[in-house]
């Protein structure tokens, strides 16, 4: 088990999350692409995820609904959020990409909501497998909207946080 690292790439406008797991590449790939396993870990804490459609081929998509089951999340408790990921660039057990969009329970994409593009890459070394997730937003407007949605909690301007951020 290792902790995750998060970086802003020096050459790209993308964010990367990476972590190494003590499991074979096969097993990790399976957890990422088998809907039964994916549903167990995809959603945020306090949310239950159900996957109602999954076609893991280029151009195919997975449709997932997440329900907030944590009463402590007052604004969200009992609410659903639906997402659709359209697969691309699949290279079995090494990498795949998906475009993630907000949608309704039928998979109809919500107009005007931000889309993001993520590439997942696996690498096995001595029995452990690293997973990296690199995300970029389809447009600056999309990123701005995601930011606006996550902004309600406000943001800190302290030096500590700045330092935490700058040392990447």
């Amino acid at each position: 088990m290792s902790k995750a690292t998060f970086t802003v790439a020096d050459d790209k406008k993308t964010l990367t999350a990476e972590r190494t797991f003590s499991a074979s590449q096969d097993k990790v790939w399976n957890a990422l692409t088998n809907p039964k396993l994916l549903a167990k870990w995809w959603g945020p804490r306090g949310w239950e995820t159900q996957i109602t459609h999954m076609e893991f081929v280029n151009g195919g998509y997975w449709l997932y609904g997440m329900k907030c089951v944590d009463p402590a999340q007052v604004d969200w408790f009992g609410k659903f959020s639906w997402g659709k990921g359209t697969y691309q660039n699949i290279r079995p057990i090494v990498t795949f990409g998906y475009v993630d969009e907000f949608c309704d329970e039928h998979g109809v994409v919500t107009p005007g909501m931000p889309a993001s593009q993520t590439t997942i890459t696996l690498k096995e070394s001595r029995g452990s497998t690293s997973v990296s997730s690199q995300t970029s937003y389809v447009s600056a407007e999309a990123l701005a909207q995601v930011l606006a949605m996550g902004m309600e909690q406000g943001f800190s301007e302290t030096w500590d946080r700045l330092e935490e951020f700058l040392v990447v």
Binding site: K13, S133, S139, L166
Partner: protein, 111 residues
């Protein structure tokens, strides 16, 4: 609250460079002239000015006139926007990875 005029694209591009992040750290607490900033680098004054211009376009710094010099100061709010986004991303993937770890463990206990 957030202007969606493409400024965030500029923001992430501006931050995606080690020299520019260092310049930003230099002007975070006190304003410095371009000359003062340039002292720390082997780069030319023009190259430093160019980096500062990129930071300025992203609204990460502002320039004021102080006598004959221009003083560069950070705009903390803009960095806060980038920081909040990264924190949110880190939280989502941090939680996902923790849960994935549990799934992988569970999976091996069945074998």
């Amino acid at each position: 609250m957030v202007e969606s005029n493409g400024s965030l694209d500029l923001l992430f591009a501006a931050l995606a460079d080690t020299t520019r992040r260092e310049i930003l750290a230099q002007v975070a607490e006190i304003g410095r002239s371009i000359g003062e900033i340039a002292e720390h680098y082997k780069l030319t004054f023009a190259a430093i000015s160019k980096h500062i211009l990129v930071l300025e376009r992203a609204n990460l710094v502002v320039k004021h006139r102080r006598g004959k010099e221009q003083v560069v100061t950070m705009v903390p709010r803009t960095l806060g926007i980038a920081q909040a986004h990264i924190a949110r991303y880190a939280q989502i993937w941090g939680d996902r990875f923790d849960q994935l770890e549990d799934v992988l463990k569970e999976d091996s206990s069945h074998e």
